[in-house]
């Protein structure tokens, strides 16, 4: 009896143990899969859901074309193949979802390759995602650095580099039908070979491959590795005139450097990408079966990745809105521009204001709706306390072009190309400027190049029509207003000193034109700058052109304010047909202003109190936003 009970108890205990083992095995197998799938979803979330505009922007400021000249230029420096392939793949963010899928696919392939190649136990395979997460982080943390990136291949360069390193470190010698000794010698020979053969195509990632090969060969091979790492870059780049001699060893490593500034925090992901794979060969030695240890580590890694990505994701609202607005302006989607402007409740950047004004100009609403949108402005957010970006660095060419200032647009576009390289965006901008200027051959040059890219061909074909037939220009929304303003604008000689907005406004406030559309721009600029002489001169001209005494809403407000509040002498407003609403609101504004002032409110409180009722008026803008803000 006793024996049979013991047997039953033992059987039950065994059963329990087996169940536990099975559960642990399931966890060991399932949790890394869940972990990795979650990581891929995280990639999708951060790339597409949160940063689709940034990714589109990166491809647009990137550059790839199918010419042999481009290939040759890429291949002339270490990492050339990565640069060429990276810039080719980066193009696919033209459709952010497609680009994101390709990025995620590359992540999955890299993970699978690393797991297979280094025989990493499933329960520890989550460690392989650390460099992949770093790569993801490198794309979403950029912020305003996107405007000054010198790499047109940024998004895919490093993921491809890591993948190539892992691929080249696959121990193929183990599968060769030769003796063990021969295999050893082949693996040793592969260390200098992989570095020497692939240094120019892969740059620093060829050196990483050599390190990985050495690590998986034997400790003794490290003796060979050191001279290889020292000599290969030095010998292969000796005599090269395309880099500093001291750059040879780190060519392909992305430095965030601008003149004397260097932002090391943005480089951390790349340190991880280069350092973590060095530990891959040792992951197979991690203890297996210690569920608590592996799962606990996995939880820590998961939390760290989530925390880092959430922390490093550049969430600044204006940064993203600016990119969306730039694209909308270029595509002449004025409704979208104004929707963005309306949605911005917190202070906006001057570039957002300029882009919104372009939409208003194109809709003929500059002087009637200008103050209905948010005009409270702040400078662009600073990235890591290092980069203070200005309109001149961002979309100065786009803004100049839309004000008909094609020469200044070309100047800014070319300057940027000089610093940061040519891009699809810049070539489109240069093409449009050349067309407006009548520089046909120059436009054709850019169109030829754009037609050799993957996603700009259609744009080039469409634009070719306007080169062939200039009479179509006024009918095309992309050219209509810039051409109009170009033709009506005055010819001056000067510089902008990087003050894009002020340069445009100063020119237009004093531009005397009889063209109704251009004159409204001139009137609007004089009003915004609060230049009384120019304002009244433009009012007079507006009256002469239209002759009916009917003025846009904000001009009426400005006239009332200037005469009755600021005491402008010698102006008789009897020629103006004021809207009753404007008159009523003007009176109500000052009644309320006096009322709040008598309550002892300070300026800020006064502005805030008046804003819901009068925030869309010239008076509020003038009284609350004391200084004319420009950039």
């Amino acid at each position: 009896m006793g024996t049979s009970v013991r047997k039953v108890l033992k059987a039950e205990k065994d059963k329990k143990l087996k169940r536990k083992e099975k559960r642990e095995t399931t966890i060991c197998v399932a949790s890394p899969i869940i972990f990795f799938l979650s990581f891929l979803m995280l990639c999708w979330y951060f790339l597409y859901v949160r940063n689709a505009d940034t990714m589109y922007f990166l491809q647009d400021r990137g550059w790839w074309n199918s010419t042999s000249l481009y290939l040759k230029e890429c291949m002339s420096v270490p990492g050339g193949l990565l640069a060429w392939t990276g810039s080719f793949l980066t193009q696919f963010f033209y459709y952010p979802a497609l680009g994101s899928i390709m990025f995620i696919a590359l992540m999955a392939m890299t993970f699978a390759l690393a797991k297979w190649s280094f025989r990493v136990p499933s329960e520890w395979s989550f460690l392989l995602t650390i460099p992949l997460a770093a790569l993801l982080c490198s794309d979403i943390q950029l912020g305003y650095w996107v405007y000054i990136l010198t790499d047109v291949d940024y998004v895919f360069y490093h993921p491809l580099g890591l993948f190539a390193s892992l691929l080249l470190s696959v121990p193929f010698w183990q599968y060769l039908p030769v003796s063990g000794k021969a295999k050893h010698w082949i693996s040793l020979a592969w260390i200098p070979l992989v570095a020497a053969l692939f240094y120019y195509p892969l740059g620093i990632y060829a050196l990483l491959a050599a390190v990985l090969v050495a690590l998986r060969t034997s400790w003794k091979s490290l003796i060979l590795l050191v001279p290889v790492l020292w000599l290969v870059p030095m010998l292969e780049t000796s005599g090269s005139t395309l880099m500093r001699p001291d750059e040879a060893w780190l060519y392909g490593f992305h430095k965030f450097e601008l003149n004397s500034l260097r932002d090391y925090s943005l480089e951390i992901p790349f340190y991880l990408v280069l350092i973590v794979p060095i530990f891959f060969p040792f992951f197979k030695k991690l203890p297996s079966g210690h569920l608590l240890l592996s799962q606990g580590t996995m939880a820590v890694v998961a939390a760290s990745i989530c925390l880092c990505l959430a922390q490093r994701d550049f969430r600044d609202y204006n940064f993203h809105a600016e990119m969306r607005m730039q694209r909308a302006v270029e595509e002449c989607c004025w409704e979208d521009v104004l929707r963005e402007a309306e949605a911005a409740k917190t202070p906006v950047t001057r570039e957002m204001i300029m882009l919104r004004n372009i939409a208003l100009i194109n809709r003929g609403e500059l002087c009637s709706k200008l103050y209905k949108y948010n005009n409270v402005s702040i400078p662009p957010a600073v990235v890591s306390d290092s980069i203070h970006i200005r309109i001149a660095d961002q979309a100065a060419d786009l803004i100049y072009y839309n004000y008909g200032e094609t020469i200044f647009a070309i100047r800014r576009a070319i300057e940027r190309c000089m610093h940061y390289g040519y891009s699809h965006y810049t070539l489109r901008m240069l093409t449009q400027c050349a067309i407006v200027n009548g520089e046909t051959e120059n436009a054709l040059k850019y169109l030829r190049l754009l037609s050799r890219s993957t996603f700009q061909r259609k744009w080039a074909e469409e634009t070719q029509r306007y080169v062939d037939d200039r009479s179509l220009l006024p009918k095309c929304e992309r050219f209509r207003m810039p051409l109009h303003l170009y033709n009506c604008g005055s010819e001056l000689v000067g510089v902008d000193d990087k003050y894009v907005e002020l340069t445009i406004m100063n020119k237009w406030k004093s531009t005397l034109t009889d063209d109704p559309l251009a004159q409204e721009v001139a009137l609007g600029c004089a009003m915004m700058l609060r230049d009384r002489n120019c304002f009244w001169a433009q009012v007079q001209r507006y009256y002469n052109i239209h002759g009916d005494g009917v003025f846009p809403t904000h001009v009426q407000e400005a006239m009332l304010f200037d005469v009755y509040e600021l005491g402008m002498k010698g102006v008789n407003l009897s020629f103006v047909k004021f809207d009753q609403t404007v008159l009523d609101r003007y009176q109500a504004f000052f009644t309320r202003l006096n009322q709040y002032s008598s309550q002892g409110m300070n300026d800020q409180a006064l502005g805030n109190a008046l804003r819901p009722e009068f925030g869309d008026t010239y008076m509020w803008d003038y009284c609350v936003l004391r200084e004319v803000q420009t950039n």
């Binding site: 005139t241 000089m418 005055s490 000067g494």
Partner: protein, 507 residues
């Protein structure tokens, strides 16, 4: 299962081999045979670059060209030694160097006859043949030039390069990427040579590691060519043909941008003087420093007895260098051509002698270059100012000093800017820069100047890929002829640049 990796590896190798074979096949696919059926067209082909009826030197590299909007091109070149056909990738004709040079050698003093066959919409067309005249006068085998984007202010990626004109070999003399870090670029400019040789040469560096790199008798020195007597560091320059002397202008440069004019930019000198620098003594001596004259672009005559230059007369209203005032009056800055007699014994100069009054024609003449026989002066002429490559109406002119008349050089010019002309070492070839192809990117052109004083049709420097200059988003500016390549390596220049430049003296 064990064989799987082996199979994988074998498959991978097979795929790579197949891809390489396909590529090779693709390359070899070009069929250079002439079409048997074609339609004769009563017109000359429109080829790029335009080599129709040009005169070329017998040592020039193959004149590869392309035809737009066609699927395929072959050409038949007839020379005194026979006929040969050439084709290339799609719409390009790429001529093999060996055959080309043999044809040129056989056709010296005669011409090659080129017939172009182009396939359009699946049908072959044969165009009227055109000639390429082969002169008996060789061209200097090398040129050097600056390669840079059509930039206004920045100078991140600049190189001074040299090109062997007898083939397609092109190398850097110095590239600022050797030293630049981030956006801290280095401006490199004003490369020049004594008597077309490279044993004595120089160029300036600005901003990062500023100074002047001078090679004399093959020895490299790095000099800070600025002292208190000079208004700026030495700039535009010219080597004396025999003495160790370089003439420089020193100047205050400024630039402003147009808002509508497609000339885009105006470069002005608000002050400028002339000096000479004795390379051996490391000493500068003022030549001209009249504050109401803006003297620029010194250029020695080949006999070394004259120093040519250009100068604009300008008097500031307030007697100080008011750049705003100058900006308002930029169209008044019109330069005339002058020369000064030079006595090498006493190192003294005579009085300025006006040789070309451009101002009276409401024009501005700059960058004079004298022919080896001393008879002709090439220069660039524009509406005003000195940077004519930005002026759409700028053109190259040639003054005959014997007659005082301008020579007909209409074959050199186009409706777009031409600038920076110079003679080859034997006067028979003219080198200049032009923006005729697209208005913005400067390209190098040559033209034959025969012994009768006639200028022949200009042609673009040939490239291996005829599409090269259409694709290149950089300018080739400020070209100079050279008889030989620069022998100092870029690394040697770089190493020297890291040293402290030697201060110049003015004793």
């Amino acid at each position: 299962m064990k064989n799987r990796p082996k199979l994988f590896l074998t498959a991978l190798i097979m795929v790579v081999l197949a891809a390489v074979s396909l590529l090779l096949l693709q390359k070899m696919r070009h069929d250079n045979s002439l079409p048997t059926h074609y339609t004769q067209v009563d017109a000359l082909p429109r080829i790029f670059p335009d080599y129709v009826d040009v005169t070329v030197p017998p040592n020039i590299a193959p004149l590869n060209f392309m035809v737009d909007s066609v699927e395929d091109v072959v050409c038949l070149i007839a020379s005194p030694v026979g006929e040969q056909t050439f084709g290339g990738d799609a719409n390009k004709v790429e001529i093999r160097e060996k055959e080309w040079h043999a044809m040129l050698a056989s056709a010296k003093g005669h011409s090659l006859l080129v017939t172009v066959f182009a396939k359009r919409d699946g049908k072959w067309l044969a165009y009227k043949p055109f000639s390429i005249y082969v002169s008996e006068d060789e061209i200097d085998p090398y040129i050097s030039y600056r390669v840079l984007p059509p930039t206004f202010v920045g100078y991140d990626k600049l190189a001074i390069r040299q090109r062997n004109l007898t083939n397609f070999e092109e190398t850097d003399i110095y590239n600022n990427r050797q030293i630049s870090r981030g956006l801290e670029g280095q401006c490199i400019n004003c490369h020049s040579y004594q008597n077309y040789g490279t044993s004595n040469m120089m160029f300036h560096t600005r901003m990062q590691n500023p100074g002047t790199m001078i090679v004399y008798d093959g020895k490299l020195t790095f000099v800070d060519l600025k002292d208190q007597s000079m208004i700026s560091a030495a700039a535009y320059n010219s080597w004396h043909p025999t003495l160790p002397i370089i003439a420089f202008s020193t100047d205050h440069t400024m630039q402003s941008f147009h808002t509508r004019d497609v000339s885009k930019v105006e470069v002005m000198e608000s002050a400028s003087d002339l000096i000479i620098y004795d390379v051996k003594q490391n000493r500068v001596q003022t030549v001209l420093n009249d504050s109401s004259e803006l003297e620029l672009f010194p250029s020695w005559s080949p006999d070394g007895k004259w120093l040519y230059y250009c100068s604009a007369h300008y008097e500031y209203q307030e007697k100080y260098e008011d750049t705003d005032e100058l900006l308002r009056n930029y169209k008044m800055l019109q330069y005339n051509l002058y020369r000064l007699a030079f006595d090498a014994e006493s190192m003294t100069f005579g009085e300025p002698e006006l040789i070309y009054d451009a101002r009276s024609k409401n024009r501005s003449a700059v960058q004079p270059r004298v022919s080896q026989d001393g008879r002709y002066v090439l220069f660039a002429e524009g509406p005003w100012g000195l940077f004519h490559i930005w002026h759409t109406s700028a053109e190259v002119q040639m003054l005959d000093l014997q007659t005082g008349e301008l020579v007909d050089v209409s074959q050199l010019n186009s409706s777009l800017p031409e600038s920076y002309p110079s003679f080859s070492s034997k006067d028979r070839w003219i080198l200049f820069e032009s923006r005729r192809d697209d208005g913005n990117y400067t390209r190098t052109y040559f033209a034959y100047f025969d012994r009768q004083g006639k200028v022949h049709k200009a042609f673009m420097v040939p490239e291996k890929d005829p599409e090269y200059f259409r694709l290149l988003l950089r300018s080739w500016s400020r070209p100079e002829f050279m008889k030989e390549p620069v022998r100092i390596t870029p690394s040697q220049f770089y190493e020297k640049m890291l040293t402290e430049p030697i201060k110049v003296s003015n004793h």
